[in-house]
């Protein structure tokens, strides 16, 4: 059997699974793929094709493209080794995969916070620099990104994980709760508090902008 685990770029012809809809219509569910991989490990390659691109983007948004490569590799290796523990009643594997990724990201917490702080302080984002060609784009992005980054850096790790799983990982609250292994009420509470911090940070940024605009 030929093994093909080239990651499929999620594009118009192959849309990524939407939250709560683990696999595009007509395709085998994640749970089925994992179950089949117990007999033939190569079925796991389809899970890689389906989720590695979005997962890589999620991790890269948090830590940058360099660490993202290692973490995505490790997420899928860990998942492959532990697939016998997968709950067959969960058709969408993303909460499981993003949960593994969250644990691995936790090892780079200092680095992640350092980058938020750098962005807040300088307006230059080490994560997006390689992907942002236009100076104008960088300036525009930096406008709201700076106070957001400052707020993200100050959030407790658990709050940041919950918030970013939803905002950047496209998970529902329920899926984020499954990823983090906490009750959904905890996720709601964490996200609510985190959003409140972001609002305050943006409000402070607005006031600052206004004051700067008013000064001659």
């Amino acid at each position: 059997m030929t093994v093909n685990i080239q990651p499929g770029r999620a594009g118009p012809a192959s849309p990524p699974a939407t939250p709560g809809s683990p696999a595009p219509p007509g395709e085998t569910s994640d749970a089925d793929l994992i179950r089949r991989s117990a007999v033939d490990p190569e079925h796991f390659a389809a899970l890689f094709r389906r989720h590695s691109g979005p997962l890589h983007r999620y991790v890269a948004r948090r830590l940058g493209p360099g660490p993202a490569e290692d973490i995505v590799a490790e997420v899928f290796l860990t998942a492959f080794r532990q697939r016998d523990r997968y709950q067959p009643g969960q058709p969408d594997a993303r909460p499981w995969l993003y949960g593994i990724a969250t644990n691995l990201i936790g090892r780079h917490r200092r680095s992640e916070v350092r980058m938020y702080r750098a962005l807040a302080r300088t307006g230059a984002d080490p994560v997006t620099e390689p992907f942002t060609d236009q100076v104008e784009d960088r300036v525009t992005a930096a406008g709201t990104a700076r106070p957001l980054a400052a707020a993200l850096a100050r959030l407790p790790a658990g709050h940041r994980d919950a918030l970013l799983l939803v905002a950047w990982g496209d998970l529902t609250y329920e899926q984020a709760a499954a990823s983090l292994g906490v009750p959904i009420g905890t996720v709601r509470s964490r996200i609510s508090r985190a959003r409140s911090r972001l609002r305050q940070a943006l409000a402070g940024q607005d006031i600052t902008s206004q004051q700067q605009g008013e000064s001659p």
Partner: protein, 345 residues
């Protein structure tokens, strides 16, 4: 302004994958390994039969003692040309730190049990800067006794010895103190700092009481008192390197230690590592804040310990020194002076 919308737009320019070939390769290897009947991270323990033990110490201290006794001339040099199993093309490319850690652990678990007083013969080379010195010695597993042959006669050295062989005025001496205690700083360029001068941070008799969980062990290593090391992670890596190269530990302890190395923050994999004998390997790498780089080099096929490599900055200046150890043969023997089959006398 909706904070969630703004957050979703933040860093939106990061493209949607795909990850590099490394992730694909690693998964592919795991799938192939499983299809071949091996657990996904079980490594290839069957390939290492020619070497019964691979987890023996860099006999830095023993060599130091041996050299101090003036027995350098008795050490054989033919071992330098002895081909090692690592000469084949590495097969470990694309491994993550955890993959390497668990393969190394799986390989360690296949080693025979050993008691503290068990004698072991080991030969290899010790490298300091551009100087490469071959050695063959006998030590006990707990490094409490050592023996070398001098002019055909066995000389015993009481251990554990801590010392550092350095060149001063062209003569090798054992330095018992920090590098800045060299008698004449002008000889600093001839001195080779190869690692901490302290004894292993954990006494052999305490190894059995170490945590059995890799993460707990990693935390435990971070908390050990070690002088002159920076971050907790640096400390943990240095202690781990010291243990694998100082003792012949029981297989299960070595295996846990290998897994713990994979848990140390900042440790990466060097797919093009090389031991002191020039054999290719795959290395656990830790780079400290000053840019000094330490490696624990594993055989890319058997995933057994091959040696260590260090590139360290002289504390007093811009000079950079490299050092390391390679083990070419390591065998359990019944007593000191006994050569195992295949040993070059």
């Amino acid at each position: 302004m909706n904070e969630m919308d703004e957050l979703v737009r933040m860093r939106a320019s990061v493209p949607d994958g795909p990850p590099s070939g490394r992730a694909r390769t690693a998964l592919l290897e795991a799938m192939r390994a499983e299809r071949a009947g091996m657990p996904a991270w079980a490594g290839h323990p069957g390939r290492g039969r020619g070497r019964r033990r691979g987890l023996w110490r860099a006999p830095r201290a023993v060599l130091a003692g041996g050299l101090a006794l003036g027995c350098a001339a008795a050490l054989t040099t033919v071992l330098l040309t002895q081909p090692g199993p690592g000469l084949a093309r590495p097969s470990a490319h694309g491994l993550t730190v955890h993959e390497l850690a668990y393969r190394s652990a799986a390989a360690a678990e296949t080693a025979p049990p050993v008691s503290p007083g068990q004698w072991v013969y080991r030969s290899g080379v010790e490298k300091f800067s551009h100087h490469v010195t071959p050695f063959h010695v006998w030590t006990t597993a707990d490094d409490s006794k050592a023996a070398v042959q001098v002019s055909g006669k066995l000389q015993f050295v009481r251990g554990p010895l801590t010392g550092l062989p350095v060149l001063v005025n062209g003569k090798l001496v054992v330095l018992r103190g920090p590098l800045d205690t060299l008698p004449d700083p002008s000889h600093a360029a001839e001195a080779f700092y190869v690692g901490p001068l302290e004894s292993p941070a954990i006494d052999y008799n305490r190894l059995g009481s170490l945590p059995k969980d890799p993460r707990a062990l990693e935390h435990s290593l971070e908390g050990l008192p070690r002088r002159g090391l920076g971050s907790p992670a640096h400390k943990a890596f240095s202690v781990a390197a010291d243990l694998v190269s100082s003792y012949v530990m029981p297989p299960e302890i070595t295996a846990t230690l290998m897994r713990a190395i994979g848990e140390i923050p900042g440790v990466t994999v060097d797919n093009h590592a090389m031991d002191a004998a020039g054999r290719p390997g795959v290395g656990f790498v830790f780079t400290d804040r000053d840019g000094a780089r330490q490696e624990i080099v594993m055989d890319p096929h058997t995933f057994r310990f091959m040696g260590t490599q260090s590139v360290l900055q002289h504390p007093g200046g811009p000079l950079t020194f490299g050092g390391g150890t390679a083990f070419l043969q390591q065998e359990l023997v019944s007593g000191p002076g006994e050569f195992p089959p295949g040993a070059r006398r």
